[in-house]
């Protein structure tokens, strides 16, 4: 089977991996073609490495977020911060806090393994905010 080396550079670290590839008989001029599924497996290995090595950085954060197919707003809602805060983290205006990096890389790591424990837990926590904090009590 033919393979091709893929590379991602995130926060001055380089991740490389080989994935299967094919060449179209009808359009050989396109060169090696990579299946979206195999690209997902490769990106999954990258997020596992980010989580496993506890890497921290704006590009790694964005990569993990997009691996989870989450918008800035969606991740801001889960982490209970403003969208602009996430934007500042990703554009290096302010450093990504280790706790946010840990949560997002954990979500990405779980997604790469077909799980969503952290995401479910964070969603439940975020939903708690919308619950009423006071209960009216009638006494008869």
């Amino acid at each position: 089977m033919r393979t091709i080396e893929l590379e991602r550079k995130l926060d001055e670290r380089t991740f490389r991996g080989r994935v299967p590839c094919s060449v179209s008989r009808k359009r050989p001029e396109l060169g090696p073609l990579i299946d979206y599924h195999d690209l997902g497996v490769f990106e999954g290995k990258v997020v596992q490495s980010i989580f496993g090595q506890k890497l921290l950085g704006p590009q790694s954060f964005r990569f993990c977020r997009s691996f989870c197919e989450m918008s800035m707003q969606a991740v801001a809602d889960l982490l209970q911060v403003d969208r602009r805060t996430v934007q500042r983290w990703e554009s290096e205006e302010s450093p990504v806090p280790p706790w946010a990096m840990l949560l997002v890389s954990k979500m990405a790591d779980e997604r790469s393994k077909g799980r969503a424990v952290m995401r479910t837990w964070l969603t439940e926590l975020a939903d708690e905010d919308g619950r009423p904090t006071e209960i009216d009590l009638d006494v008869a």
Partner: protein, 88 residues
Amino acid sequence: MDSAEALRVIRGLARANRIWLTAHADREAAECGASRGHIRCALINAKSIRASGPGRASDWTVAGPDLDGDDLEIALIIQDGLLVITVY
């Protein structure tokens, strides 16, 4: 296939994850920080389409919002029930 039909097919194939990328497109995507999540989102929600024109490596060029709502332009070929992305 006209452009409206092509747009419908592209959205459907993207939703079904029937997407392939050329090595060139993957390198371009990596350089501009567009991971597969952004690509799929732009394809599923593609708003505009135009024929790429003669002499191009692609048949169609579509534009749609990525995960953050920023427009991503993608050139592609529809072949044998697959989307082959050639350029960003």
